[in-house]
């Protein structure tokens, strides 16, 4: 992998390609609207009257203390759980089934299937959509080299390092080709360099082919670089403490962007909000 920030055209096209996915049609650019959302596991209130909106093709970052309910919120958005009260809309979909249809979710744990090779894990969504195995492997495999996984196509998950597993899981989510992406700490296990490269790749891909994205991360810099806006969540039960606009979302030159004075200022503000949220509990 190289540090140059040019979008690799082939991959960008690949990513932009609308497959034969039934969910890929019509719902492109679904906006997310969450109103008065509450959720709890038994007695444990995780989310309390949370409001959030993401415009179609918008990218929203979520940061918040560990255990505040970020992963739960993503599961709610993705249609894997139902709220206690409140409403979630993805484009025109309100029911969990419609949300599932529109949203690709990358869970925090990679959850690679141990009986499938790396490439078959990455190709799962294509296979589920009915693409033939050879074709699915080809499509999913086209990004392996780019993601630093070249040569590990047929490795089993147990033979991959933590960061490699995470990248395979990321790839698996991308190839689902959904209008909405819900990413739960997609780059948490990556070293600074690989992580920056992945961020740049994602930024480029989103520039070429905009999607609606909700990105959970514990890296404020990552959030502010990749997202249009960043919501800082309070400790459990989660609600939005502050919502910040990023100064230069997905700038072509990442290095310049994240060292710009404006960027640093916003970052400090976000950190302060986070700190306050944490100490409020």
């Amino acid at each position: 992998m190289r540090q140059d920030t040019k979008m690799p055209t082939a991959e960008a096209r690949d990513f932009a390609t609308e497959g034969a996915s039934p969910s890929g049609t019509g719902a492109i650019g679904a906006a997310i609207s969450i109103r008065g959302l509450s959720h709890s596991y038994g007695d444990l209130q995780t989310i309390e009257r949370l409001d959030l909106t993401v415009a179609a093709h918008g990218v929203l970052g979520l940061v918040g203390p560990s255990g505040c309910g970020k992963s739960t919120l993503l599961e709610l958005i993705a249609g894997l759980q139902e709220p206690e009260s409140g409403a979630i809309e993805l484009g025109d979909a309100r029911d969990p089934h419609g949300r599932l249809d529109r949203c690709a979710y990358m869970p925090q744990r990679d959850l690679l299937l141990p009986w499938l090779s790396a490439i078959d894990n990455a190709a799962l969504a294509l296979r589920n959509r009915g693409v033939r195995r050879a074709q699915a492997r080809r499509e999913a495999g086209s990004l392996f080299e780019r993601f630093g996984l070249g040569g590990f196509e047929s490795a089993s998950p147990a033979e991959l390092s933590g960061g490699m597993r995470q990248r395979v899981a990321f790839l698996r989510t991308l190839v689902a080709e959904k209008p909405v992406l819900a990413l739960d700490e997609p780059f948490a296990s990556l070293d600074a360099i690989t992580r920056a490269e992945m961020q740049e790749w994602l930024a480029g891909a989103l520039r070429a082919d905009p999607r609606t994205v909700v990105l959970v991360t514990h890296d404020v810099e990552e959030a502010l670089y990749l997202c249009d806006a960043v919501a800082v969540l309070s400790a459990r039960p989660a609600c939005v403490l502050e919502q910040l606009r990023a100064p230069s979302p997905r700038a072509a030159n990442r290095n310049a962007a994240v060292t710009a004075q404006e960027f640093v200022t916003v970052r400090e503000r976000a950190m302060r909000a986070l700190r306050e949220g944490a100490s409020a509990t």
């Binding site: 969910s23 894997l80 249809d101 869970p107 744990r109 959850l111 141990p114 799962l124 689902a176």
Partner: protein, 250 residues
């Protein structure tokens, strides 16, 4: 090959001890080892050699029965397990029936089977299949339920249909269970064959063992049991081998 040395040695020691016990008056008397009750290894070996063609012929009959019966049970057991896994109602309704099916003694159903399936291999196959069906079904059903719910969630976000979740997640997760069930089934299948042959068949090792016991030819009966065991161990080993080749991820 050293790992085979000790087991072989153990077997040799066991057989040797048995032979000594059988041929030493006092021990034989204390243990009631009398050749009409428990023949000595030497007698069994002799019988094994002398009746080799008879044993081989009957063994072939039994092997075929086991293969077919087990095959049917495998297909039916896996199918039923999947169906019961997919439909809770089916499981609630059929699980008790399937347990009940295991409790019907052979001499109760043998006449019915003969009436329905005629003489010959049919009833035996049915009995073997019935016996094998149970461990395969119970284990596979439990295996299908052993899946991490998170993995299922992940699949759902990837647009997987119920069928795809089944095939790509639940079935692989159930495989180790199914293999354990199949190993149990194939070992008890030979016993099913024995009783099946008693009920309605003119050939096979079970038949031979029964006749030899009736004629008090215990040595040959034991020789037939040895062949029967060898068959079961062979099938068990084959399935264990298949398991190792299929379940590669652990």
């Amino acid at each position: 090959m050293k790992r085979w040395l000790l087991p072989t040695l153990l077997l040799a020691v066991l057989i040797g001890a048995w032979q000594i016990a059988a041929s030493t008056g006092a021990i034989a008397e204390a243990l009631h080892i009398e050749s009409f009750l428990v023949p000595s290894p030497a007698e069994i070996a002799e019988s094994l050699w002398q009746s080799r063609s008879l044993l081989a012929e009957n063994a072939w009959v039994t092997v075929r029965e086991v293969l077919f019966g087990f095959g049917c049970a495998l297909v039916a057991g896996l199918g039923f397990a999947v169906a019961m896994h997919l439909f809770e109602t089916l499981r609630l309704a059929f699980q008790p029936l399937i347990v009940a099916s295991q409790t019907i003694p052979i001499f109760v159903i043998a006449p019915i089977l003969v009436v329905w399936l005629g003489f010959g291999i049919g009833p035996t196959l049915a009995i073997i299949a019935l016996i094998c069906f149970f461990p395969i079904t119970v284990n596979t059903l439990d295996g299908l339920g052993s899946v991490d719910v998170e993995a299922t969630k992940m699949m759902r976000t990837l647009d997987a249909s119920r069928r795809q979740i089944l095939w790509r997640v639940e079935v692989p997760a159930a495989l180790p269970y199914a293999f354990s069930g199949a190993k149990i089934a194939v070992a008890v299948a030979v016993i099913g064959a024995v009783f099946g042959e008693l009920a309605a068949s003119g050939a096979g090792l079970g038949r031979l063992i029964f006749q030899d016991m009736a004629q008090l030819q215990t040595a040959r009966a034991f020789a037939a049991v040895v062949v029967l065991s060898a068959i079961a161990i062979g099938f068990f080993g084959l399935i264990a081998l298949a398991e190792r080749r299929v379940v590669t991820w652990r």
